[in-house]
Symmetry: C2
Amino acid sequence: MEGRIDRIKKQLHGASYKLTPQREATVRVLLENEEDHLSAEDVYLLVKNKAPDIGLATVYRTLELLTELKVVDKINFGDGVSRYDLRQEGAAHFHHHLVCIECGAVDEIQEDLLEDVENVVEKRWKFQIKDHRLTFHGICWRCHGKHDENESSD
Amino acid sequence: MEGRIDRIKKQLHGASYKLTPQREATVRVLLENEEDHLSAEDVYLLVKNKAPDIGLATVYRTLELLTELKVVDKINFGDGVSRYDLRQEGAAHFHHHLVCIECGAVDEIQEDLLEDVENVVEKRWKFQIKDHRLTFHGICWRCHGKHDENESSD
DNA sequence: TAGTAGATTATAATCATTATCATATCAAAA
DNA sequence: TTTTGATATGATAATGATTATAATCTACTA
Ligand SMILES: [Zn+2]
Ligand SMILES: [Zn+2]
Ligand SMILES: [Zn+2]
Ligand SMILES: [Zn+2]
């Protein structure tokens, strides 16, 4: 974790920004909740535990800054809020998501899976891909299980 | 066009809704601007030409209704507004998008391309896919051309 | 120490979307 | 034809997320 923060610090310095205490607190919250998909408000509430005096605007600014540096990705699942997702270190592309329409769970797919598709798109549409967003909507294994409970099988 | 409206009318009736004049005007605007990705406000302004007395709330309500019936898909490209995109008749899945980070153009990919990926996801993550959202961010052929204007070739 | 640039805070402003409620439409019942 | 009930609409208010503003604070440096 400390190593990860150090590297983010270096990234900030590389773009001539500083890792202020507020920014560090925000980054720590993101690292400690890597599995989740937090909204700015969520982050704000969690950061308040570490830095009670932080303002909401600072959280927004920090998240924007981290997005610019590609430390996090901003994503929108269709409820009215933006969510912020730590990008895996060294990952060229943003990971994919599985959103369950029954229970609302959001699972992640870290594998790329899109290499072939992207080759086709780059060639056929002459589009130079820099990043992508891929989200599947459907029924997760947990909810699927529930339905099958009293069906024997096929 | 009339045939398309008739079929949407039938879909509405099937769900026991009516095709009111306001709804018809809204659908016509969507059909006439099929290429575009209009926000609710955009649709409102265009519909006003046909039905000057229509209220913004009605447009929002109609778009919500059409989304529910899967006549349109609601999508968000990261600017603060939702956009509404007519689904091709008979298409099982939403189409894909190419968003140019230079000029802002949004192009469409009607081909599915994801069949293989979806098979993998369904099996490996035991996730029953109902729909998807796939957007590529990058540089479109138009902007790419601009850069190459004074570079000979490779 | 004073000056300066950047960062932060509290708060106001903005903007998209949703909720409210009185009115309108329309078809079926009386 | 009038009444009634269900649904739809329009004007407007309310909400909620995000951004802008202005005053204050915090390193650094001359
Ligand atoms: Zn689920
Ligand atoms: Zn994620
Ligand atoms: Zn372009
Ligand atoms: Zn589209």
